[in-house]
């Protein structure tokens, strides 16, 4: 009997795929610099594909080009949701190389900031052209009410894209998920620590629910 149910499962999975009408949804991971977007993207990619997406760093603007991981199959409750993950450069309205001069020499800092600026342009472009849904990652230890967050979430809403807000870094002392929930009550907020892997079950449940 076990064989049968297994067979049935795999058949239904195949048909699910066949009839899932479209291509995998492309989910953009957006947020301000250093919110943990790449850490999250790597966590998701490692959990479901075994590979990482990109380098993580405590220095902001480590991700300066959008990176994509395709066909990430996330299994939830016997169903498989396939998504493409786009890890985007942190979006900001100001880039200043002096932010990095503590840890980089001036030339590298200037280059980093130039690339970061290009990265923002790219991220905004992806948002306009190539994204079917958004995971908006925030550092829950920081004040979520900023110009960037308000503007980006406004743009996302105006495009009617499905969006999940991830209150990341719950492992930090100053973390306040409530502050984020209060800031964006119209959206679903999911607390997590991508670094520690806390609450990832709920993360995947929500992803499947919102983007499946």
């Amino acid at each position: 009997m076990g064989l049968f149910t297994e067979l049935k499962d795999s058949i239904s999975r195949v048909t699910d795929r066949l009839f899932s009408e479209q291509e995998p949804k492309r989910i953009g991971i957006y947020g301000p610099p250093n919110a943990g977007k790449t850490t999250l993207a790597n966590r998701i990619a490692r959990d479901w594909t075994g590979d990482a997406i990109g380098a993580e760093s405590h220095i902001p603007h480590e991700t300066r080009r959008a990176r994509r991981k395709e066909n990430v199959d996330i299994e939830r409750n016997g169903k498989t949701v396939t998504i493409d993950i786009v890890d985007t450069p942190g979006v900001t309205t100001k880039v200043d190389y002096e932010e990095f001069t503590d840890e980089l020499d001036e030339e590298d800092a200037i280059r980093r900031s130039r690339e970061a600026t290009e990265g923002v342009a790219e991220a905004m472009h992806w948002l306009r052209e190539d994204v079917d849904g958004v995971i908006y990652v925030l550092d829950s230890a920081e004040d979520p009410i900023t110009q960037v967050n308000t503007m980006l979430i406004g743009i996302i809403e105006s495009r009617d894209l499905p969006v999940l807000i991830f209150a990341n870094k719950t492992d930090l002392e100053d973390s306040s998920v409530k502050r984020i929930e209060d800031a964006f009550p119209q959206h679903t907020t999911v607390p997590l620590s991508a670094k520690e892997g806390d609450n990832m079950d709920e993360v995947y449940d929500k992803i499947a629910e919102f983007f499946g």
Binding site: T93, V95, D96, Y97, E118, A121, M124, H125, E129, L152
Partner: protein
């Protein structure tokens, strides 16, 4: 002509939308920003400046016409050279440049930039024989290629020089004096702005950039060009960098360069743009990605 294709050298007027779908001539999507002010500044110093190729091009109209005249005289003497030599020898280039520019200025301002190069050559071939047009017509293409390469790669440039050296020297001298005269006059004359705006300018520029230096036989010039003379135009004039940045900022409100390494971004503007800047340079050079090439690159990624 603040915008210039770094591939073929075609220029675009301030606010032009042509380039948003890639360079109409060569399909390139790499452009640089060369504000008129900077160019003008360069031109003033420009007589000897090979580097300030753009600046020279700006001088265009009167200079060119003058040069053209001189060249014409010269050409007339040298009938034979017109056809056979023209293609590869520097002489043709010289001839063509001045003529083409003048022609462009006088008769066809509206000419497409691609056509410009052709015009130049054809005219250069000689105003006398139109029958030769067809033959000559081909040259432009060849030339365009060589020019482009010249701009991009130092290697390509050399061949043209070598060829140019043999017969050219004498010619070069003539040209030099002619050009020098023309230049000095031009600079003093107020003509510049008028010519600068027209499409005509871009054409002379083609010729001028690649050819003039060669003709001038300024040996020193060749090396800087390799690295990309296109790039050097705006940066050639250090003091103007601030102006440059200002102009760039005016145009691209989406990204403001406060100073190297410091940027302010207008997210809405970035979001609203169909094309987007994928590369910034402090000297006012930038690369935009146009929708088509974006898709291509996206596909290739996959």
């Amino acid at each position: 002509m603040p915008h210039q294709c770094t591939n073929c050298g075609r220029t675009f007027a301030d606010g032009s939308k042509e380039m948003l779908s890639g360079c109409p001539d060569c399909g390139g999507n790499k452009f640089q920003f060369a504000p008129a002010t900077a160019a003008t500044a360069d031109s003033s110093g420009g007589a000897g400046d090979t580097e300030a190729a753009d600046a020279e091009s700006t001088e265009s109209g009167s200079v060119t016409s003058r040069a053209t005249e001189t060249v014409r005289d010269w050409i007339t003497r040298d009938d034979d050279s017109t056809d056979g030599r023209n293609r590869q020898s520097p002489d043709p280039a010289v001839q063509s440049t001045p003529d083409g520019s003048s022609a462009a200025v006088e008769s066809e301002q509206s000419w497409p930039s691609s056509g410009e190069a052709d015009t130049t050559e054809a005219d250069g071939a000689t105003g006398e024989a139109f029958a030769e047009w067809p033959e000559t017509a081909r040259r432009p293409e060849n030339r365009t290629d060589t020019q482009t390469e010249t701009i991009d790669e130092s290697g390509d440039r050399e061949p043209s020089h070598q060829q140019s050296d043999e017969p050219t020297t004498t010619l070069a001298d003539d040209e030099n004096s002619a050009q020098a005269d023309a230049r000095s006059e031009v600079i003093s004359a107020g003509d510049l702005p008028t010519h600068t705006d027209g499409a005509a300018v871009s054409e002379p520029r083609h010729g001028v950039d690649a050819d003039e230096p060669t003709d001038a036989a300024t040996a020193g010039d060749d090396q800087p060009p390799e690295h990309g003379r296109v790039v050097s135009e705006p940066s050639g004039d250090r003091p103007s960098i601030d102006d440059l940045r200002e102009e760039l900022n005016k145009q691209f409100e989406s990204i403001k360069i406060v100073r190297p390494g410091q940027y302010e971004l207008n997210l809405m503007e970035l979001y609203n743009r169909e094309e987007y800047i994928i590369s910034l340079q402090e000297d006012g050079r930038y690369v935009i990605d146009v929708p088509d090439s974006w898709r291509d690159s996206g596909d290739s990624d996959e």
